[in-house]
């Protein structure tokens, strides 16, 4: 008995192969958007792999965290490469998530029967941002420490439950070692567990429903998912791997200075680029709007915007009937313009 036959008898993988060969990916002028999900998945897999390697040397205590990261970058063989790839890939993954969100939104891929796919996707978006927020603190350097202080303060402005959220995130009133070990636990255990569940569900639903064709877009044939689309996806992945290798080698991330909670916050402190639009918008609000504190109002508005994002498939009743309506497209364009304008303003601003 040949090895493949042996394996077939025990795993029935032929069924899966037949399914994939049978599955077809539609071709049309927006078909390039189908790669955004794969791009995000590629970076996620890199994160898992490099994260596991970093975990072998990283120590999540206020005394040892910074030194362990410095050890990784200076003494551990290829530690610098693993860390640089982890950080670059993290940023590119967040960019990939945003692109995937935009692609799904503007091609109205969320419409019936893919509402639950959208919900799991938005869940994964929030998880990815939380990955970024919690991971940023782990090197325990000055920028990370104070950015976390500011970030958790903003979370503390959520109406009614703000203070409770702040204490829950920090593990107390201040950013301390309790915050570090909490963020570490969230980053390497809770979020990966949640991601596994949601990502599994997301893939399952994508396989069940197949790729969505935007309403009103003419189909120009199709191609088998396996091997054609998978090979094309693979080609994109290989090219991205080359890009990450270039970035990680030629533009490494510095370790910075060890966090000193007693030192004054450094000048020019900014959150990571993916949170900058929120930070900039909150800064531009007046101290008080009517009788409400400006920042609190802004945080409330972002919470509402998050809720609207979750409910998009249920609010866009036209898309459910396979019709295009300009209201949602215009709202989406305005949201993208807002995020881009605030990010650019934030990057140019001196805080």
């Amino acid at each position: 008995m040949g090895a493949l036959a042996w394996l077939e008898e025990r795993t029935r993988y032929g069924g899966a192969e037949a399914y994939l060969r049978h599955k077809e990916v539609p071709r049309h002028r927006y078909a390039f958007t189908y790669y955004t999900g794969g791009i995000t998945l590629f970076f996620f897999l890199i994160q898992v792999l490099t994260g596991l390697l970093l975990l072998m040397y990283y120590r999540p205590t206020a005394d040892a965290a910074f030194e362990s990261v410095r050890l990784i970058t200076s003494k551990v063989r290829f530690g610098w490469l693993i860390r640089a790839i982890h950080i670059w890939s993290a940023n590119l993954m967040i960019l990939g998530v945003f692109l995937h969100l935009a692609a799904t939104f503007f091609t109205k891929a969320y419409r019936r029967p893919r509402e639950v796919t959208w919900l799991t996707g938005v869940g994964l978006l929030f998880i990815t941002l939380t990955f970024g927020f919690t991971g940023y603190l782990l090197p325990w350097n000055t920028l990370a420490y104070f950015a976390t202080q500011v970030g958790t303060e903003i979370a503390g402005d959520v109406p009614l439950i703000g203070h409770a959220v702040l204490v829950l995130l920090r593990g107390g009133e201040d950013v301390t070692e309790a915050t570090l070990s909490r963020f570490f636990g969230i980053h390497v255990a809770i979020l990966p567990a949640l991601t596994t569940v949601l990502l599994g569900l997301h893939f399952l639903l994508v396989q069940i429903h197949g790729m969505s064709r935007p309403p009103g877009v003419a189909r120009a044939g199709g191609e088998p998912f396996y091997p054609h689309f998978m090979l094309r996806d693979g080609l994109v992945w290989v090219l991205l791997l080359g890009g990450v290798a270039i970035l990680a080698t030629l533009v490494p991330w510095e370790v910075g200075e060890k966090a000193d909670p007693l030192a004054p916050a450094p000048a020019g402190l900014k959150p990571e680029w993916y949170f900058l639009f929120m930070y900039q918008a909150l800064r531009m609000l007046p101290p008080r709007v009517l009788w409400v504190e400006g920042e609190m109002l802004g945080v409330f508005a972002f919470v509402v915007a998050g809720a609207v994002l979750i409910l998009v498939p249920f609010l866009d009743v036209w898309a459910a009937r396979d019709r295009r309506h300009h209201l949602f497209t215009i709202a989406g364009v305005l949201a993208v313009l807002f995020v881009m304008a605030m990010t650019i303003l934030g990057l140019r601003a001196t805080f």
Binding site: S74, W80, R232, L235, L239, T249, V255
Partner: protein
Amino acid sequence: MAPRRILAWALGVAAAAAALVLLVLPRGAWAAPAADSCTACHQNLDGPLGAPVAGMRDDVHARRGLTCASCHGGDPRRAGMDAHDRRAGFVGAPPPQQVPQFCASCHSRPDVMRRFNPKLPTDQLARYLTSVHGQKLRQGDTQVATCVSCHGVHPVRGLADAASPVFAPNVPRTCARCHADVARMKPYGIATTQFDEYKESVHGRALLERGNRQAPACNDCHDNHGAVPPGVTSVANVCAQCHSATRDLFVRSPHKEAFDVLGQGECTTCHGTHNIAFPTDEMIGGTEPAVCLRCHPAGSSGSAGASAIRAGLERLKGAIGEAEGLLGRAERAGMDVSESDLDINEARTQLIIARAATHAASLSAVTPPVQAGVAAAGRARAVGEAALAELAFRKRGLFVALAVIGFVALTLWLKLRELEARHRA
């Protein structure tokens, strides 16, 4: 209710109300207004007779509860000129010759000063009488500085008051009011360039430009109340108040005996007095602008020794510069070279020690720190070289990785073309 009980109630309520009023009113509000006819009259006067009233608002004495009469005597409870009662101790404004004793009537009495500021010394008058100012005043020269010339009067401000003429950064300008005045100094035959020189000196820049109150002002070298020129024999002691390590090295050096014989000031011969510039390594050696050449002509054994000392310093500086250059290049390329921090700091520290050791005027004193510094700089340099070698290795590795990735991508692309052609067919 019986009238007696009504009366008792009324008295009780009145007593409680009075107690409440006394508690609520600010302290002293119920005391009789203090009679002070000095202020009452002088605040309505113009010119020098009225100015003290306004000035006393910032006066350190007034803030501690002293009044006009505390210094000038008299009876402020009496109105008008009756307050100027000499039987009540009225002295008015003392003439310049009497000012030191006038102030010393309190300031030389520990029992009095203890009540206001126990840390304030009480030997000012005694020291003043030893100063050139005090001796001249005794001889009847009323142009010299007395207490009020420096401290001001109405108001006399505290030492920590930034507006006080004796607040550390203001002291040089306070002294210069007289000592930079050519006409005023002419009868004494004293130069008037000290302030201009001091302003440009390392001490003057630190104090006047950067506000570093650790830097010496005039009084730190000349003393304040006992102000005298330090003189050749004691000037080194003055400098050693701060520069004790270099002084110790100098005392053990061959220069000590030579300077004593020649009657030269120990520190001032090389560093100057009011115009002390930031010391540089160029001050040492056998070529211009080395100060050694003033006594050791080029070609002499002393000049050769100075050149050897300078060469040691240059060697260490070169080693540090080379290491810093390499580390900087590696750091700019994103390499972590922090493990060299200890060594590079050690090398810089040894350079400071070597520079101080030049005061021993002996190569054997300078060589050990130079050697230790060069060794530390060498270790730091090795870290930089290793980092740059690692960087080159990374770039080579990237090139190889990109070649492999490019090959895989090309293979995939060719396979895709083949599949698509087959699919179309």
